[in-house]
């Protein structure tokens, strides 16, 4: 694949919203004029089981319909997956991994099976609980991957997400501000970017 295409792999646990974040990223990229794919890998899902989702984002149409084995970026929505799943498998050393964790990137590197590329972390729990009052890690992690990958222009991304939230939460506008705050603060706070 040429580098005009960005491939992202999401690792999460059932119920944390990794699939939703993946589809939100596809939405945001679509809004900025890109060709997108957003798709989860399905199995016998249940709450807490490891799940995988994928994004392809490109300036040209992409016809490939397979999972992503050599991602440019990996997002880990649940830190406990680092021991359970080979999250850096095939990950491009020129790319990066973004992990939901309160710890510093270098503290986590020993768990990454020799991955030599960039490691970033974000304390999505703290941000989510601070601005949404509950633990929804996917919105902060979405912002983090946009910041780290540079796949979308940040101001445009924020504007598109606000429009998307206004549409999605039309019946409960009180949650829009918290979600927007989650995005902007996460983009500032992601470590190692």
């Amino acid at each position: 694949m040429s580098r005009t295409m960005t491939e992202i792999r999401w690792h999460g646990r059932g119920g944390q919203g990794a699939k939703t974040a993946c589809l939100l990223l596809a939405d945001a990229a679509f809004a900025s004029g890109k060709y997108v794919q957003g798709f989860p890998e399905y199995g016998p899902e249940r709450m807490g089981a490891p799940i995988t989702a994928y994004n392809r984002i490109s300036d040209a149409p992409c016809t490939v319909h397979s999972n992503i084995y050599k991602p440019n970026y990996v997002v880990v929505v649940d830190e406990t997956l680092l021991r359970a799943v080979d999250v850096t498998a095939g990950l491009d050393p020129q790319g990066a991994i973004v992990i939901n964790s309160p710890r510093a990137p270098e503290e986590l590197r020993p768990l990454l099976r020799g991955y030599s590329g960039k490691v970033c972390t974000l304390d999505a729990r703290r941000i989510s609980e601070q601005y949404l009052g509950r633990y929804f890690p996917n919105t902060p992690m979405l912002a983090a991957i946009v910041k780290v990958s540079g796949v979308l222009e940040p101001d445009r991304f924020i504007a598109d997400m606000e429009a998307s939230f206004r549409h999605k939460f039309a019946s409960k506008p009180q949650v829009i501000e918290g979600n927007m705050k989650c995005l902007t603060e996460s983009m500032k706070e992601v470590r190692g970017a």
């Binding site: 694949m1 589809l23 596809a26 679509f30 399905y42 992409c62 016809t63 490939v64 999972n67 084995y69």
Partner: protein
């Protein structure tokens, strides 16, 4: 004007259904087609369609509901997958032999067992001899476009057969991708109203649907059904031509990709075609003349046309996404190999069964098949004709 959007394959089908606003939707959920009745139920609740939405207790009943509705003169639709389609089996034949133009959105999923929810084509391939038209889709766009063409083919007076519009479960049904949608009014005009020549309700000529047929007549009726399937070939091309005039996207019995000078070619169905196209570009950059025939219409099967498309190719791999358990290859292989029998110098041909129960197929997997074909083309030695891709249990791994 087309509308740029992004939808999953299931959303695309539900969107097409809303635009068409059929008379009856018989709904019973099964993964991975469940979202179609789910989205459509929202349209019903929001008053966006006038459809009679009938929730039933099984797929046997959803197809039976469609049969009753279609016999009464209504445009009837449903959606299903896997075991749901299998549970319809008896009534699939009733729908076809009663010449009822029902539209079924089939979101392909493997058949049990072992239990698995992922994609292959074993469900619709099992129904390939039921008398239904079958059209397959590579992506969300084709699922949408095929659905918009379905009723004009199925309801045509020279055809009057039910139709399945198939797409790959999860791979396209749950993948959000860019899509071009068409305006409601243009779609409605293109699809048109359904005006059956014969129906149980509201007509002056009383008729019976599904009565006993005695030996002196029953075979004649089956032959008429076989003729209708042949007639469908012309109608499919006519509707595709009108679709292209109206919306600008071209369809045929199959898509030929880089076949103009191809020495090695794949024949396959569905979403893997896109992966194969990416592989072909990669191989051609290295001087390998690879091509692809993506089968869109499987019933009726375009026999002469496929043979013609393959006549100059040295080696062909038919890729079957279902096991026929015939001990000699899958159902697509049987058709394509038979089609090439009348060629003076048919290509060397193998069957590669792949992707069963959701086994992923990446560009690199396709590349191995092309390289294997290059070896066959160069040496003239075919080797095993019936291969299963990437088997951890196989002692002699071919691919």
């Amino acid at each position: 004007m087309s509308i740029r959007d992004r939808l999953s394959g299931n959303e695309a089908i539900a969107h097409a259904m809303r635009q068409i606003d059929p008379d009856v939707f018989a709904a019973f959920p099964i993964t991975p087609s469940t979202e179609i009745p789910q989205y459509f139920a929202q349209y019903v609740a929001d008053g966006k369609v006038g459809t009679e939405y009938v929730t039933v207790e099984s797929e046997h009943s959803s197809m039976s509901t469609c049969i009753g509705a279609a016999a009464a003169g209504a445009r009837a639709v449903t959606a299903t997958s896997s075991a749901g389609l299998a549970f319809m089996y008896e009534v699939l034949y009733v729908a076809a032999s009663s010449r009822l133009p029902i539209t079924l959105a089939c979101v392909n999923r493997t058949l049990t067992g072992p239990i698995n929810i992922n994609n292959d084509h074993s469900d619709s391939m099992g129904a390939r001899d039921s008398g239904w038209l079958q059209i397959y889709s590579e992506n969300n766009q084709e699922a949408y476009d095929n659905y918009l063409q379905a009723m004009r083919i199925s309801e045509h007076p020279s055809v009057r057969l039910p139709i399945m519009i198939c797409q790959d479960g999860f791979i396209t049904s749950h993948a959000v991708e860019n899509i071009l949608l068409e305006e409601d009014e243009v779609v409605k005009r293109f699809v048109g109203e359904y005006r059956p020549e014969h129906a149980l309700i509201g007509r002056d000529n009383p008729l019976a649907v599904g009565p006993y047929d005695t030996c002196p007549f029953c075979m004649e009726h089956k032959v008429q059904q076989a003729e209708a399937m042949k007639n469908a070939k012309k109608v499919i091309l006519d509707v595709a031509a009108d679709f292209e005039r109206t919306f600008g996207r071209k369809y045929g019995f199959f898509e030929e990709y880089r076949m103009e000078d191809a020495e090695v070619a794949l024949v396959l169905i569905g979403s893997t075609a896109g992966t194969a196209k990416a592989c072909i570009e990669k191989l051609r950059a290295n001087g390998i003349k690879a091509g692809l025939v993506k089968v869109r219409v499987f019933r009726p099967f375009p026999m002469e046309e496929i043979a013609n498309a393959l006549r100059n190719v040295k080696a062909v791999a038919v890729m079957d996404k279902s096991e026929g358990y015939s001990a000699c290859g899958g159902p697509l292989f049987a058709e394509v190999r038979s089609a090439c029998y009348d060629l003076d110098t048919p290509p060397k041909m193998i069957d590669v069964v792949y992707g069963l129960a959701g086994r992923d197929c990446a560009v690199e997997d396709i590349e191995r098949v092309y390289l294997h074909l290059m070896k066959i083309a160069e040496t003239g030695i075919v080797g095993p004709r019936y291969i299963h891709m990437g088997q951890r249990s196989s002692q002699e791994e071919v691919l």
